[in-house]
């Protein structure tokens, strides 16, 4: 069994992690894939200066995400005796998590409930809601 866990770098992500660990404990062979998506759109507008710096910034963003969010989670999972790996990618959060789960052949996605609020989430929906609506793999939302 393969589980994809979507982290958001907040405390709610930890709950998703705990839930997935609980599921994994009940199964004999379960691979856990910890995913962190850095919100990014290919259609946003950038200045020439930002373009020149982009490659460097991307590397920095990935290493910060690895260092602060993903690596500690994977280390904790491995310490608990699970097989785990990490993926950090740029893109739309919902689409990217679904894409990873689909291509890895995962049987379930575990994410935390939406941490977004206010006008933006009213207008565009939250990443969690978008994932639940469009995912090709069953999704568990942890409260």
């Amino acid at each position: 069994m393969k589980l994809v866990i979507g982290l958001d770098g907040q405390s709610s992500g930890k709950k998703a992690l705990e839930f997935a660990t609980g599921v994994a404990a009940n199964s004999e062979t379960c691979e856990l894939i910890v995913v962190y998506v850095i919100e990014w759109s290919p259609f946003s507008f950038q200045t020439a200066e930002e373009n020149a710096q982009r490659h460097k910034r991307r590397e920095e963003e990935i290493s910060i995400a690895m260092e602060r969010v993903v690596d500690p989670a994977v280390a904790a999972l491995k310490k608990a005796g699970h097989s785990a790996k990490a993926i950090v990618r740029h893109g739309d959060v919902a689409d990217t998590i679904d894409e990873i789960a689909h291509s890895e052949g995962a049987s379930q996605i575990v994410v935390a409930r939406s941490s977004a609020g206010g006008l933006t989430s009213r207008l565009f929906g939250s990443s969690t809601a978008n994932l639940v609506m469009n995912a090709r793999v069953p999704v568990t939302v942890v409260a």
Binding site: F45, Q46, N51, G91
Partner: protein, 222 residues
Amino acid sequence: MWLVVGATIFTVYFAGVQFRFFGHAISLVKGGYSDPGDAGEVSHFQAPATALSGTVGLGNIAGVTVAVGIGGPGATFWMILAGLLGMASKFTECTLGVKYRNEYPEGTVSGGPMYCISKGSDELGLPGGKILAVLFSVFCILGALGGGNMFQANQAHAQITQISGDFPGWITGLFFAALVFAVIVGGIKSIARVTEKIVPFMGILHVGAAIIVLIVNFDMIG
């Protein structure tokens, strides 16, 4: 004139690349050829959008008005023709820009005609590439002073006096100079960032305003 000659040469040399690969260009910008592993880098949409923001303005808006004002409606035809041929120049320019750009060890990139000229002529074994590159840079500075500052300030002053009534041009000039001073010397980067980002909306506003003018003056068309 020389721009059109150059553009015609590029169009013939590349056998009408701007028409043959038009569909390819659209699917490139839409992200059809993007590698998902490259997500987070400058996208195929962002690069031309940024380049466009530096181009829209002087030539496309003020220049067209001046050309039609001096040359009459027939100027539009030649501008469209020059624009279509100019796509081949842009193709050549951008390809060379990418081919001869500099990638620095810390991960940033920079490029431009000065690098194309010096590196390209070195490759072909032609002398004087460096001199031409320096000349290009000097002319760029002169162009920025003349076309980028004087012409735009002059145009802006002409527009303002139409609304407010006549007043000496140096007042507008001084006002703009103070603004530019604040941005460049004072380091108010936020202003530059905002103006660079509203350029796409300026384009939309420009086309929208042109359509409104056409609708209002509908009875005078044809």
